[in-house]
Each structure stands twice: as structure tokens, then as C-alpha cells.
Assembly symmetry: C2
Homo-oligomer: 202 residues x 2
């Protein structure tokens, strides 16, 4: 292996980006060829640099991990040669599974040892580290509308008020709320907020 492993870092926090770069650049067989703070930036950077590994933070903004998950799928689809390694603070197993389901080659919790991180980067690069994907536990997939309703719901709006805000009737709001509750397997709107927060959807 003469070539150095080319890595792109995607994280919205400058400190994490720079910190990771500092760590990785100390390794002789690894080089950081780019970094990005947003999905758009990530896609263009990866396209431009064609890295071996993309270190991807799932939480790219205050909207939770959805942004990162989506980006993960996009990166895998457009750049199958690059191995996406999910970097996250979430201890939530469903999130990890969701990322793997979308084609991530590995995942790293942010409190891992640096040595382990390096091991994983080298592992996915050589292909010696294979992740067991095992099909789906399928975290609930909310539609656009449902997400919108849920955010308004979390702010304490009544169905009627949500209807005003979303320009739909309160009957429709109730319809969507039912959908949300069914998918999250809960029965009260307070629990919706709780579950959504735990899953990082909110």
C-alpha cells in the first residue's frame, strides 16, 4: 500500500473538523484532502477530491441526524468508491443501523479511542473491516408533512393552531398526528415530543 488513505471530514463544528485533521495528519499513511460543514459542501468536496474515506458526522445542524442520514445515502449513491464512516455522538442504536442501511461502511462514536478511529479508517480502506448490515430494524420514516406537523406540535400548538400555520384544516392535522403517533408507536402528543427527541428527529 504505497498510496496514502485520502480522507474527507464532514462536520458542522469547526473545532471537531480541525481537531480531527490535526489528529489524522499525524499519521503518515493518512492524508486529509478536504472537509465540509454542510451537505452541499460535502457533495462538491467529495466529487472534487475523490477520497477513500468520508468521515461523516450525522448531526450537521440543529435539525438532528436526518440531514446527515440523507447525505450519507447521497454520498453512497454518487460515490460508491468512497467508504462512508459515520461519526456520531448518538448512542442510539437505531441511528447507527439506519446509517448502515443507507450504505455506510462503518460507524464511530465520538468518544472512541483515537487508536480505534485510525483502525477503523484503515479497516474500511483495505476492506478488511466489513460491517454486518442484516437488513432492517427500520426506524420510523416520517413524511415531510408529518415532520412539519411534529415540529409545530412540539411547540405546544393545538391541532387548530397547527392547521392555521400549515394552511390545512384541523381535521387534516389530526390525520397527520395520528400517522405520527402510529409510526412512533405512542398515544399522546407529549410522548411524541419525547420519542422524537430521543430519536433525534426533532
Amino acid at each position: 500500500m504505497a498510496e496514502r488513505t485520502r480522507v474527507v471530514i464532514v462536520d458542522d463544528h469547526t473545532i471537531v473538523r480541525e481537531g480531527l485533521r490535526s489528529i489524522l495528519e499525524l499519521e503518515p499513511d493518512i492524508t486529509v484532502v478536504g472537509h465540509a460543514a454542510s451537505p452541499a459542501e460535502a457533495l462538491s468536496t467529495v466529487a472534487a477530491t475523490q477520497p477513500d474515506v468520508v468521515l461523516l458526522d450525522l448531526k450537521l445542524d440543529r435539525d438532528g441526524p436526518v440531514t446527515g442520514l440523507t447525505l450519507c445515502g447521497d454520498l453512497v449513491a454518487r460515490h460508491p468508491a468512497a467508504s462512508v464512516v459515520v461519526l456520531t455522538t448518538f448512542h442510539d442504536r437505531t441511528l447507527v443501523m439506519e446509517a448502515l442501511r443507507r450504505g455506510a461502511k462503518g460507524y464511530v462514536l465520538k468518544d472512541v479511542d483515537v487508536v480505534d478511529l485510525l483502525k477503523i479508517i484503515r479497516g474500511v480502506r483495505t476492506g478488511s473491516l466489513m460491517v454486518h448490515v442484516a437488513s432492517e430494524p427500520d426506524s420510523p420514516r416520517l413524511t415531510r408533512r408529518e415532520l412539519e406537523i411534529m415540529r409545530l406540535l412540539a411547540r405546544g400548538l393545538t391541532n387548530r393552531e397547527i392547521g392555521k400555520a400549515a394552511l390545512i384544516s384541523d381535521s387534516t392535522v389530526k390525520f397527520h398526528v395520528r400517522g405520527i403517533m402510529r409510526k412512533l408507536a405512542v398515544h399522546h402528543r407529549a410522548e411524541v415530543v419525547y420519542a422524537a427527541t430521543k430519536l433525534g428527529i426533532l
Copy 2:
């Protein structure tokens, strides 16, 4: 200023700790004399190394920022010579105010520029950077009972069910829920969960 600024880093994520260390060690006038991942470790490390600045992440575990806030107060109380700089991902203004109220000398959002971070570290060290504390906005103080009720409420229990669980009547539950809502300045239980999560009380 002949002496180098001595810094201790407190963060539960190894990657953030090592990353920060890598960044700071590049500066000739700054030296990282210790790091910690937990409150206990932080207190002993700070006591042992007597740093000028403590970089403190508010979110030290999955319990939210309460752990960090408490530690912030403890550090300030036991080591008034050390300047605590709060490092956090939370964009929430109330959290920052709460930290300052407990004696933090400054705060840094994790997505700041590295240059700004260095500026702040040097600022608190020389005392040229002074934070306006302005007394208190006082984050709401819930009683033991209210906290207990709130946690059950978040799980989606009805007032009646909460009563069963807490061995009190549903009338009393409603009494406490009213108290919670009043203190959080909200009017619906879904919003209670939302507000409590944002404040890290849950």
C-alpha cells in the same frame, strides 16, 4: 507574559479532547496540562495541575448539560484562580447565561473559528475579556415532585396514570402539572417535554 497559558480540557469525547489538544499545542504560548472526561476526573485534574483556563464542555453525558453546569459551579468555587470557559454545541442562550451565572468567564460554541477560540483563551487569561453577568434570568427551579411528574408526563402517561405511578390522586397530578407549566411558561404538556428537553432538565 513569559509563562505559557496552562489549559485543562474537559470533554467526554476523546476525539474532541485530542482534537483540541492538537490544535492548542500548535500555539507557542499555550500548553495543555491535562484533560478529563468526567466531573470527578476534572476536579482532581484541575486540583493537581492548577491551570489558568479550563475548557469545559457542558454536555458531559447523556443527561444533558446539567452535569456540566454543576461541575462549572464546583470548579469556580474550588478554584477561583482558574478561568472556566464553557465549550458547548448548545445554541441555547439560557444555558450560556446559566453557566455565566455560575461563574464561567466565557463561552465558546463548538462551531467557532479556531482563531476565535484562541482569542478567547488568551482573553480570559489576561483578564482583558470580561463577561457581563448581569445577575440572573434564573432558569426555572422545579421541585422534586414536579420533576418526577414531568418525567412520567414525558413518557405519555395521562394524569390518572401518573397518579397511579406516584401514588397520589389525579387532582394532585393536575396541580403539579399546572405548577410545571407555570414555571416553564407553557400551556400544553407536549410543550413541557419540548421545553424541558431544551433546558436539559429531562
